[in-house]
Point group: C2
Chain length 65, copies 2
DNA sequence: ATGTAATGTTAAGTACCCTTTACATCAAAA
DNA sequence: TTTTGATGTAAAGGGTACTTAACATTACAT
């Protein structure tokens, strides 16, 4: 599973720390998601979609395992 | 977080065991999701959406904590 | 050259997703 | 009444999402 978090974050001109604050998660969580260390929970995926004003399906691509 | 899994499953006329097989999870997982014991992972949410031919946002409602 | 902001790594701990196994309940069919 | 299918509960274990903390790297400003 891949995601566009870094891309979307940079388009929105926010730092990892700012995004983490907005989503109420740790900065480490944002780093790990952007670097593909693990997948977001459904709840966090939803908060990301809301923050970036898009859909979960747009942020995440589920193709490969 | 709520979900429409049971509702969608019944509309599709499949048992919990059949749905579990189709999604490659245990029957226990389907039961727990339907009964609200915990939330699906993002990957499972995606498989559910694909199976029911809809979107993650349609199956899950994120309103309340 | 030094300081600062942004990003990154590693590690240890907690909570939750999902599994397997075993058993209980209920309705409908035999 | 007994059997069967569908649904449910409980518990123990593995893997993963997320946390906090401490420290490293890079780039840019002073």
């Amino acid at each position: 599973m891949k995601n566009k978090i870094q891309e979307l974050r940079q388009e929105h001109h926010v730092t990892q720390a700012e995004l983490a604050d907005q989503l109420q998660v740790s900065r480490q969580t944002i780093i790990s998601l952007e670097r593909g260390k693990y997948n977001a929970s459904l709840m966090l995926a939803h908060r990301l979609a809301t923050y970036f004003n898009t859909t979960i399906e747009d942020i995440f691509t589920f193709e490969e395992e």
